[in-house]
C-alpha cells in the first residue's frame, strides 16, 4: 500500500509540474507575465486580423492584439487594442505607424509597429497610434492604369508638338527662299552702282577722276601714313605689353578670375534668392495673419514689459524685510545707479574702510588744450599700484569715488564724475573687471568726515569685498 501511495504521489506531482510548466510556457509566449502598455490603433480594413494576433516592433514579438472593436457604422474604423511589452515602449514614438503584415505568403496576419523618429516624443500609454492601410492589388492595378493613361496623353502631346514644329519649319523655309531672292536683287543693284562709279558718275566717281581731289586725297593718305606710323609704334608697345601680360599668364588668370567671379556671382545670386525666399517665409504672415515685424515688435514690447515688471519686483524684493538686511549690511542696493546722497549716508562712506585707496588727481590726469582731462601713463601706474593694495578685485564690487574741488557745485559734480568714469574705463579694460562689479559715484570735493581730509582732489577706490572680509 505504501508503494502505491508513493507511485500515485509521483504521478500526481509530475502531472502538476507539467501542467504548471505548460501554463508558464504558454503564458510567456503571450507575455502574460510581463508588464504591458496598452496602445490603440484604427483600421478601415483589418485584413483578416484576429484577436490574439502578434504585435511586433523591429521584428521582435512584443505583445498581441487584445481586442478588436467593431465599428458601429459605415465609414468608421475598427479599433484595435494592443498589449505591448513595456520594455519596448521607448521605441514607440508619437509618429510611429502601425501596419498589418502577413507572415510569408500563406502565414498569419500580424501587426507591425514601426519605429518613430528620434525627435518625436515617446507615445504615452493608452494613446492611439497612426495606422497605414495595406495597399491592395486592385488599387495597385488602378494606379498602374492611371500611369498608362498619363503616358498615353504625354505621347499624344509630343506628337502634336512635332506636327507644330514641322509646320514652323515649312514656314521658315519659305521665308529663307524669299530672303535669298531679296539678296539676289540687292547684289544686282550693287553691281549697277559699281559700274556707275567706274564711269565717274556720282561723288565716288568724282574722287576717282578729279586731280585736285586726288592731290587732297594723296595729302590725306600721307597724313594717314604718319598717323599709322605713330599707331604702329603704339601697337609695338601694346604688343610688348601684351607679351608681358601673356608671359605672366595674366590673361589666363584674369579669365580664371572672371570665371570664378561669374561662378561666385551665380552662387551669390542663388544664395540671395534663397535668402530672399527664407526672408519671405520668415517675415511672411503667420497663421494669424500677422507678419514677422509685427510679431517681433509685439515680442519686444512684451519683453520690455516683462523686464520692467521684473525690475519692479526685484526692487520690491530689496525692500522686503527678508532681504533688506542683506542690502543694508552690504551698503548699497544697486551698483548701476548709486545715488550720491544715499551713498554719503551709507555705511561704506561713513566708516571709511581700510581698503580705501586715495589717488590724487595730479598723479592721474593731465589737461588737454580744450580743458578736458585724460588719464596719463603715470596715472595708470598709480591706479595699478592702488589696485595692488587690494587682496582681491575679481568677483567683488569696487566703487570708484570721484572728487574735484571747484568753484561751483555743478562743475564739481561733472568733473568728479568724469574722473571716476576715466578710472572705471581703465579698470574695466585693463583688468577685465565686469561692469556689474564696478560702480562710480561723483562726490564733488567732500570726502568722508573721518578720512582726515576736509577736501580731496582725485579719485578714491573702495573694495567692498575686502571691507566685508
Amino acid at each position: 500500500m505504501k508503494n502505491q501511495n508513493l507511485l500515485l504521489g509521483i504521478l500526481t506531482t509530475g502531472a502538476l509540474a507539467l501542467f504548471a510548466a505548460g501554463l508558464f510556457l504558454i503564458g510567456n509566449q503571450h507575455k502574460a507575465f510581463t508588464h504591458h502598455v496598452v496602445f490603440y490603433t484604427n483600421f478601415q480594413n483589418v485584413e483578416g486580423l484576429a484577436k490574439g494576433a502578434q504585435v511586433t516592433v523591429d521584428g521582435m514579438i512584443v505583445g498581441e492584439v487584445e481586442s478588436i472593436q467593431v465599428p458601429s457604422g459605415p465609414g468608421q474604423k475598427f479599433r484595435l487594442k494592443m498589449n505591448v511589452d513595456d520594455r519596448l515602449h521607448g521605441l514607440i514614438r508619437g509618429d510611429s505607424l502601425v501596419t498589418v503584415e502577413t507572415e510569408g505568403l500563406v502565414g498569419d496576419k500580424f501587426l507591425v509597429i514601426h519605429d518613430g523618429s528620434e525627435h518625436a516624443s515617446e507615445a504615452p500609454a493608452g494613446s492611439t497610434l497612426q495606422s497605414q492601410e495595406q495597399l491592395e492589388m486592385s488599387k495597385l492595378l488602378e494606379q498602374a492604369q492611371g500611369i498608362m493613361k498619363q503616358t498615353s496623353t504625354a505621347i499624344d502631346e509630343v506628337q502634336g508638338n512635332l506636327n507644330d514644329l514641322r509646320a514652323h519649319l515649312d514656314v521658315t523655309l519659305d521665308t529663307a527662299t524669299s530672303t535669298i531672292r531679296n539678296v539676289n536683287g540687292v547684289v544686282n543693284n550693287v553691281n549697277g552702282v559699281v559700274t556707275d562709279v567706274r564711269s565717274g558718275k556720282g561723288t565716288v566717281g568724282m574722287l576717282l577722276e578729279d586731280k585736285a581731289t586726288a592731290a587732297d586725297v594723296r595729302q590725306s593718305v600721307a597724313n594717314v601714313r604718319q598717323t599709322t606710323a605713330t599707331l604702329n609704334g603704339s601697337s609695338t608697345r601694346i604688343d610688348s605689353l601684351l607679351a608681358e601680360v601673356q608671359s605672366r599668364q595674366l590673361l589666363g588668370k584674369m579669365d580664371d578670375t572672371l570665371s570664378n567671379t561669374k561662378s561666385a556671382t551665380q552662387n551669390l545670386n542663388q544664395i540671395s534668392q534663397q535668402v530672399n525666399t527664407t526672408l519671405k517665409s520668415a517675415f511672411g504672415e503667420d497663421q494669424y495673419g500677422e507678419d514677422a515685424g509685427t510679431n517681433l515688435e509685439q515680442s519686444l514690447t512684451n519683453i520690455n514689459q516683462a523686464t520692467g515688471n521684473m525690475a519692479d519686483d526685484t526692487e520690491a524684493l530689496k525692500h522686503n524685510f527678508l532681504f533688506k538686511g542683506f542690502f543694508k549690511h552690504r551698503g548699497y542696493d544697486d551698483l548701476d545707479d548709486l545715488p550720491v546722497e544715499q551713498y554719503r549716508a551709507g555705511e561704506i562712506f561713513r566708516n571709511v574702510p581700510e581698503s580705501r585707496q586715495w589717488i590724487p588727481a595730479s598723479s592721474l590726469f593731465s589737461t588737454n588744450a580744450d580743458g578736458s582731462e585724460v588719464l596719463t601713463t603715470q596715472g595708470r601706474h598709480s591706479i595699478d599700484a592702488a589696485i595692488g593694495q587690494f587682496k582681491e578685485i575679481y568677483g567683488q564690487p569696487l566703487i570708484i569715488e570721484g572728487y574735484d574741488p571747484s568753484d561751483s557745485e555743478s562743475v564739481e559734480l561733472i568733473r568728479s564724475r568724469r574722473r571716476a568714469v576715466l578710472v572705471q574705463t581703465y579698470l574695466q579694460l585693463h583688468y577685465h573687471l565686469l561692469p556689474k562689479n564696478t560702480a562710480i559715484v561723483a562726490l564733488g570735493s567732500t570726502p568722508p568726515t573721518n578720512a582726515g581730509k576736509s577736501t580731496f582732489d582725485g579719485v578714491s577706490l573702495v573694495s567692498i569685498g575686502e571691507r566685508n572680509k
Binding site: 500515485l8 504521478l11 500526481t12 505548460g22 510556457l25 509566449q29 503571450h30 484577436k51 490574439g52 510569408g104
Partner: protein, 254 residues
Amino acid sequence: MVKSALESIGRVTSFGTRALRDAWTPPFEWQYLLWQLCEVGVGSFLLVVAAGFALGVVMTLHTRSTLVQFGATADIPSFQSLAFFNEIGPLVTGLLMAGRVGASIGAQLANMRATEQIDAIETLSVNSFKLLVVTRVIACTVMLPVLTIFMDASGILGGFISEHLVSHLSWTLYLHRAFENLALANFIPPTLKTAVFGYLIAIISCFYGYTTNEGSNGVRKAATSSVVVSSLVIILADVILVKCIFFLFPDQAL
C-alpha cells in the same frame, strides 16, 4: 431494437446519475479509491507515455514530409503542439484508457458478479455500488486529465527528438516554436475535457460489469462491450465537447 437501445441508454444514464449522487454522500471508501487511482493512473502511465512518444515521432515525420514541400518546416513544432494539446493527446488517452481500464473494469466487475462476490459484499452490509463503482468512476475522472498531460508532454518530446535527429533543432527553439501559437484555451479546456471521457469510460464499463448476470459469457460480453461502447461514446462526446469549447472560447474556432 431501437426500444432496447433507448432502454439501455436510460439505464446507463440512471446508473451514472446514481454514481454522481453517491460520490458526495458518506461513507467514503478512501482506501479503495486510492487503490483505484493507483490502478488507473500508475498502471496506465507507461502505456500512455510510450504511446504519446511514438505518436509524436510519427506525427513529426509525416508533418515534415508535407511541410518541407512548402518550405515551412519551421512550423513543425507549432503544428505538433497544436495537434497534441487540442485533440490527439486527449482523444488518444481516452481511447487507450477505454481499451485498458474499460476492459479491466468490465471484466473484473462481471467476474465478481458471476462469482457472487458482489452479493457477498452486500451481505457484509457494505454498499457494493459505492465501493466498486463510485471509486472507479472517481479514479477514472481524476486520472484521465493527469494522463493526458503526460501524453501531451511525451508527444512533444517525441516530436522534438524526431526533429532534432533530422534538422538538429535545439530544444529551446523547439519549445519556443511549439508554444508560440498556443493559447491557454488550447491547453486547459482540452485537457479538462478528458475528465468527461474518464467519467464515461468508468460509467459504461462499470454498468456492463456490475449489471451483467450471465456467468462467464457475461464476463466476455462485459469486457467487449465496455471497450467498444466507451470508445464510441468518447469519440461522439468529443464532437460535442469540442463544440462546447468553441462556444466558450470563440477565438479557437477561427
